[in-house]
Subunit: 174 residues, 2 copies
DNA sequence: ACCTGAACACCGTTCAAGT
DNA sequence: ACCTGAACACCGTTCAAGT
């Protein structure tokens, strides 16, 4: 006797993202997700292998949301940097998870495409990959430090971000 | 009737660091630490408040080990970068934990001192803090990407590191 | 004063039994 | 076919009882 489905992978992942932002990774339990989608915890295992797979799916969804924002920002390094920062501040836990969990590399690769285009326009094809890595590493490290409250020695964080962007641009076009 | 102490905070933290590198954060359980120091899990609570406090203590010890290495590397940005990279590759889990757990900010502040000295020598006192943040953000992001295996689009990782270092130097002295 | 076994709460996961 | 209660393993943590 078939039973109608009471939830779906998409709903589970969406619930996972909301719970993650609201309570942090420790609060993202199978029970919390199950309750939010209106089902008992064991039922989740019909749709996802285990909690690690859920974390990976949530990370993938975050990366895809970021990729959309980057694609919309255009091919300018400054615009990409600000889009990246806007995403990190809007979804701090999702941002962190992208570099923590078993985040699927292919999704991360796709999000790198606009960066590599912008870098290529700036420094040429040969150095585009290295330049994109320089830029991405800086932005990622900066945002992680910003989110973790590491900027405590005074100074303006916005100003430090603009400073980094300016010097990076100078270094890449030198 | 007094009982001789069978372990110590230092021994517990040292055990925590070893277990962390061997098994990752999920394997760093109170039971694993207790077994390694030759005690039962409940006894650990005589010395540390809870598992979060243990993680913080392990993170602090990692940061202090890093600070020693940076202090020994001198006041040259390139030497600091390579010392930082050497530490991250020698203690990948400890490196990750430094930016994950409730890593005590004051310990992180101390590790920043040599960076700020080097930056100050390069760009002057006024921009030293912003320059140190630019450099630290890049290095931290780069190493996290390297450790997580994010560099998969080809290219030589060592070359990308040297490229970043060179361009950063160029941007800061421009 | 420190250590321990026993106990409790909580979580991930499996599975037989329901519809 | 999907859902569930019950059960199990495992972990963090507390506490009364030992020495």
């Amino acid at each position: 006797m078939p039973t109608p489905e009471r939830t779906s992978v998409d709903e589970i992942v969406a619930a996972g993202r909301e719970i993650l932002e609201a309570t942090g990774p420790a609060g993202l339990t199978m029970q919390a997700v199950a309750t939010r989608v209106g089902v008992r915890a064991p039922s989740l295992y019909k749709r996802i292998r285990d909690r690690d797979a859920l974390l990976a799916a949530v990370a993938t969804a975050s990366i895809e949301a970021l990729t959309e924002r980057l694609d919309a920002a255009g091919d300018d390094l400054s615009a990409l940097a600000h889009a990246y920062r806007g995403f990190a501040n809007a979804h701090p836990e999702g941002f962190r998870l992208m570099f923590t969990a078993a985040a699927p590399h292919d999704a991360l690769d796709r999000s790198a495409a606009p960066l590599i285009r912008a870098a290529s326009a700036l420094v040429g094809k040969d150095d585009a990959l290295d330049a994109a890595r320089l830029f991405t590493a800086w932005a990622t490290g900066f945002l992680q430090m910003e989110l973790s409250g590491a900027f405590r020695l005074g100074g303006d964080v916005d100003r430090a971000f603009e400073y980094g962007l300016r010097r990076l641009n100078a270094g890449l076009t030198a």
